[in-house]
Symmetry: D3
Subunit: 340 residues, 6 copies
């Protein structure tokens, strides 16, 4: 009983070199990522036994995605191969006043066409004690909504802990649809991870006195939101990542973990952004890691925020940092001296 199963889509990510815009590119940096895959890589890098469940096309592009996951130690042995294509997303890195741009080309992906019959449910759930998914999975298609629902039911029956990152994507579904579906799935969820925007967009729950656009975030407000969610859905813990977007180059980054025992805000980092994509996923992984390892709530949120601050200094979706590096930052000063 030692495996964490993350379920979702992995995409190919294509990005011009440096700060070039898409129309300037005659080369793309290629990597792979996706909300749930990113969590799997984070957890595997921290030494846990992480398995990723998805569906990938049976061609060289699917092979490349497998290779990428496998290289970071993620188990890919339960992934069925087939379907039409791997989803792609194009990404421009922003700077200063120019925000990053993501162009999705993810429709008709193999995963969006998955059916529970394509997997060996028993083998997939063997030794699993934690399941993680995000709001993107049910948003992709009716088939993935049905697929994740089946898995969540199975998890509930087996007593597996479930975490969910809301991850609202307005290009995938409307607020109304998201609210309806996610509300129905919350019965299976033990730990909810979110940011303010998503809670507002999906559940219509909003923090008082904060303005996302302005980048002002009130910690008290988040406690209130969390209380409401805990009350309404019966989840055990709600974790928010809090981003203050000063510019595309510089962000404030902190978080807060709310449980029935109270609210635990973290310290805040000012980050010179290298790559902010995957920041939320590495935060989710940090929360999951802390809860699994029975860290105190305060240590858990500090760990998750430190982990995800480091992520944003690393190219690509994946958070390639060691346990020691996260702990050093969570405990230390973050002065960024050379380690020789």
């Amino acid at each position: 009983m030692s495996k964490i199963l993350t379920v979702g889509e992995i995409m190919m990510r294509l990005q011009p070199e440096g700060y070039k815009r898409l129309v300037q590119a005659d080369k793309f940096d290629v990597c792979f990522g996706g909300a749930e895959a990113n969590v799997a890589v984070s957890l595997a890098s921290l030494g846990l036994d992480a398995s990723f469940l998805s569906k990938l096309p049976d061609n060289l592009i699917g092979d490349s995605a497998i290779k990428s996951l496998r290289s970071f130690g993620v188990d890919t042995s339960n992934i069925p191969r087939g379907g039409e294509r791997l989803g792609i997303y194009f990404c421009e890195k922003g700077a200063a006043q120019r925000g990053s741009v993501v162009v999705y080309d993810r429709r008709y992906s193999s995963f969006s066409d998955i059916d529970v019959k394509e997997i060996d449910l028993e083998k997939t759930f063997t030794d699993v004690y934690w399941l993680h998914f995000t709001g993107i999975t049910p948003a992709l298609s009716e088939k993935t909504e049905k697929f994740i629902t089946t898995l969540l039911k199975q998890a509930k029956e087996m007593g597996i802990k479930v975490s969910c990152d809301l991850n609202y994507r307005k290009k995938l579904w409307s607020r109304e649809k998201a609210g309806k579906v996610m509300t129905s799935l919350m019965q299976y969820v033990d730990v909810l991870i979110s940011n303010e925007e998503d809670c507002k967009d999906v559940f219509g729950i909003e923090a008082k006195g904060s303005s996302i656009e302005k980048g002002e975030l009130s910690k008290q407000g988040y406690s209130e939101i969390a209380s409401e969610i805990i009350k309404k859905f019966g989840v055990k813990a709600v974790a928010f990542s809090l981003r203050e977007s000063i510019s595309a180059s510089i962000n404030g980054w902190s978080g807060i973990l709310c449980t029935e025992e109270g609210s635990f805000p973290s310290k805040k980092y000012n980050i010179n952004i290298v790559d902010r994509i995957g920041g939320g996923d590495s935060f989710a992984a940090g929360i999951i890691y802390g809860l699994i390892k029975d860290f105190s709530y305060q240590k858990t949120i500090e760990f998750a925020v430190a982990a995800s601050a480091l992520k944003q200094t690393i190219e690509g979706d994946f958070n390639l940092v060691s346990l020691k590096e996260i702990e050093d930052l969570a405990l230390g000063t973050g002065s960024g001296r050379v380690s020789r």
Copy 2:
């Protein structure tokens, strides 16, 4: 009356650097190409007024395709924007015994969803005296089959010359379907361009005494095929490109142009391949150019073969050579000395 209209799909082409395989790539070279777009770029580079008709998504990826075509002087002003996505193809460069590999991800493209109502037919056909398409266009979808049929009828009515490159793609349609559709479209075609494989696959017409796999090609055989096609479909000219694949690194390359006046075989080049993709398209462009410029049939085939031999020394789909470079090769020795 001076414009050439080419109609079809343009895709983004993604290729690992050098001879790397797809699973080795952490960078892709990015360019754009597609059978009909390649012909448009060839003709524009030769100084003709070439216009490309397609449909492109209304996002930064569609903008990039426009930018690429426009940079080589192709008119893109008639292209409607909309639909879901730009088709993509991944490409590995082969060497020696390892052939190049193309992985298509072209379904659901904006062009495959085109409707003739989306274009301004009158404006599109203004000043057009030649229309070029390939067998890929009707193969993409029922909508594109209907679209190209409408255009061909319009062209016929307006007395516009029509050339067609058979370009059979087995992943897009069956031989039976291709045979049926292409046969019905041949009534609009004045000039047919092909290679032996395609004639066999689409029309079931095969040269005697040649084996494509072995790379042995009989010039007499092609004359017979051409006669059959001219008789059956009433086309004025049939041009074959003839590839002898010694290995992925070295190819023999020649062609033959067949008309009612007889068959005109070209000289043959031994090519150290840089990039063979687009070779057939640059051959088609050479044939079209020669016929438009009223070259003799012999000069036309020599020009087309020289143009397309040069293409295969150039990276990317597009044939970026000048009129002078082609003529020098067609007339000269191809000894590849430095031009200072």
Copy 3:
């Protein structure tokens, strides 16, 4: 009557990768740029009909410059080909206390040798309603001074609006020569664009209470300078871009537009610089766009400053941003969030 004509030199720009110095380079990033060409690309990107007039060598290097302009939709059909060479400039990107370095190798360029007889004046001016030039053009050679004077006279006769960016280059001419020539050309100018340094260097007019070296800039001072210029030369509007150079990595950026109706200062951006070259040109294009589109003066200066702030986050001379991106920044917060 819908075309904007920009007249000047385009150069090849060669720059080591990243922050490498020239002596460290074994690769150069290649692009093209020049004050007036940059304005043409900006305006074409905003959807206007922009034409660039210059002279380019008749070789592959000239072809490359044409290709670059054409790719961004700039009309190049009036550019005569001939002369000796394309001007080149080498550029090192600075950081922190190390300023960027530009090494010019622009003498003997084809454009510096242009004669009005080489162009078809009537065709060039067809449909033109705005002409833009900068102080670099008359500074290049006696021939270009004569050339631009002829064009400006023609524009005046035809009632074409004229904008001029002072753009003083001390390596091209002395302050005295610049002052004399630019003063004589001001009779043709409707809109003058400048920064404080240039006004001081060319016309000897200086803002009180500001120190460029220190990066302190007084907005009142600029109003006084503008009044003096409006009075002296009869121009309708004077726009200043105001740079506060905190370091090569971080700049303050704002502007002020002065007309007889008053002075309109913009908000200020703190920019993490990606590439500051072309900042002034994109500002000029923003002013021209706003005036053409009959924006209010306040909206015009906010638009120009937002456009040029974004430029400085983009690699290369050209400002590759859309109308929507500029408007979003001008109206919004510039918090640089991801656009998904």
Copy 4:
């Protein structure tokens, strides 16, 4: 009983881009490789359960080697971490008359310092039915000689099949030393893989009528050598890879498999070399695969030669080809046509 264990050293390989010499490099392509690791990757790519046993330093460089092996599906869970460093080899790609150059910096590697106590012998041998090593391992140090001897004894006791690639490296040990040690290890070996040079260098056994330097190789001669080896050492099969080095750019490549049932020469390929390093290792893997899969001897040698011909068209040490690609080449014409 389904695992193949390969034992040896993996190194970091550093190579200038393209055909640059080492003194010209300001970038290195980085990959990992080593005779036995290459065999493990080949077998894993073919779908077998391959495990690699070595020792790697406990730092980010060791992590990178692990990541590389794991990405291709090789089991690395038995590799102890510790010791001083990862061996490195620098490599220049040759062309035409300029041969490739390898500069080794492999001394003091973690693996050269391995002790059998550092591994869990029982776990390592669980399910193993084949063990592969090469002459490089005992050549590295007395410790590795002792280590491999222990493993071979264990394998013999457990009835595990053993294959050995002679792989003589003159910079690691003298012919005398190699002869003595390898002779003593031959008692454990079932399948010997070699080329003519190595047999001569290590055992002093030489084919008549062939000259390696001239690249002329007599197939009869190899049968004689093989007979002698089979008689002397009691091995079941001897496989030779036969390289005719026409130049660094073009090689002839074939092989011969000799058993008590006779000698089975393969067809010969003329290869335009992309990267010849690892050619011998992919040949060894092909032989092992054929024998494990109970291919006929003729099919085995054709498979091994086709696999290793393909390797030499692939960048890096590893042979990243699929079973289907090898079989297509072994059965087909190797004409290198595009696979769409």
Copy 5:
């Protein structure tokens, strides 16, 4: 009497592109560096006659190091060739909260095995009037400790000035060993260069009221340390570089020069870090240059701090700035404007 001799190790430096981590690298940027080599390059770039003494392997890697030094005008004619290998260090560039990481692979280097008999002492010391070394050299091995001691004695006898940068490396030796050896070498030293950490680590002398981890540094404290060192060891001058590590991306940088005439603190720069490695070495070179050129102490420290601030905006170990650039910064505002 015009030559400066620097004695020490030069290593190959391998670094992933941009902000990539080592496990993400499939390319390394290659350069060469080492504390004493960096000083030699700085001084040669400033126009002095600098000679570097080391020992390099007699292979293409040693050749590459020679080529690098020679390209910047450093005399390499006294370097014996031989030994096992060139030391290597791998380097990850940090950002924000993620500090840079250096992985050393420098043991068994040719230099660590040097013997004074391998060099021509008389030729090496001809025309030398200044010798520079750092604490790394005696830390490498007993042989290098003996070697540098011999050289220092020789220098003392010849009246050559000696400067020493403490440069404590905890992976090379313990604090105790370092303290003992460096104390015994201080009798030969005229000018000591250090930072607070090193003084504390090596001599146990610590500034009051400053915390390195926090990045708070008290200038008074340094005067006290310097006084103690001057008193204890009889050196003429002690120079400290003072780094305030706000994050890996942003550092404060200043220095202080202490002599019997008093303490001379410099202005402080806030640096957006491009590459901080070699910052201390360029500071040492600045101090040496100022003292040689008989700058005032105040000018000397301002020069050294400006030089080393610029270094940190330059990729690689070497400080490739001109005398004029340093002087402009030392005297000017450091506003980083473009130099055209």
Copy 6:
């Protein structure tokens, strides 16, 4: 008396990556080269004391050229700095039927403006025993013609040996002018190096029975030409490099050395071309080296041809091979095996 002085122009060479055409480039590979500089680098690489005399602009581009020469051990201490610019040449690498293209942008270079007063003639000629120049130098300008004439007179007076490579460049001067000037300079020349084209173009002397365009070369013919030249100009030796251009990818390469003692033809190499530019210069350097080292005439020509065959497998103008590598090829088989 041990120094070789080469006199001429060095240019910056800019080339798109791989086989890209100039219009496709958004990166250039940067190196430096020029006929006489290439000879200097070859000779320095072979261990001789080579000095290069030219004139370079006093900017960062001139510094980069110096750095490049110095890195390969060429003495640059006599080069005056000043003038307008460094010459540039753009270069496209050809393949198969597409020949390489060179676009020169070399006019107005600093060297073309050199005056003998700018150099210290005495210092420059100290220790010189051999002077090498090519026909490019007098072709550049009247000033360089005058400059080289002065140097040649001085050399003659001092008894210095003089070699000249004809190197006719039709873009620099007419055949008539070249013939007149080179004829007048032949009185100073001891060793003439050429290819057939140049002898024909400059002196109107042509080999019978050979056709350059066809790549057929008659060795007898060259002996006749050489005899004529020896008779007419009194030179001691004439060396021809003989290129058979099968395609841009594959060339035959050989040479012949003619003296009063007879004609010495070399063996011929079939070269898979990596970079043919500088082939002739490395041949010249080989001839000079052989004559200086008193090799037999046969050994001299074999050495020169082997050296220049190797050059054509190396990127850039410079021939970066060692004495041993040349000798191994001259004596050996050129089978291109790996050197481990």
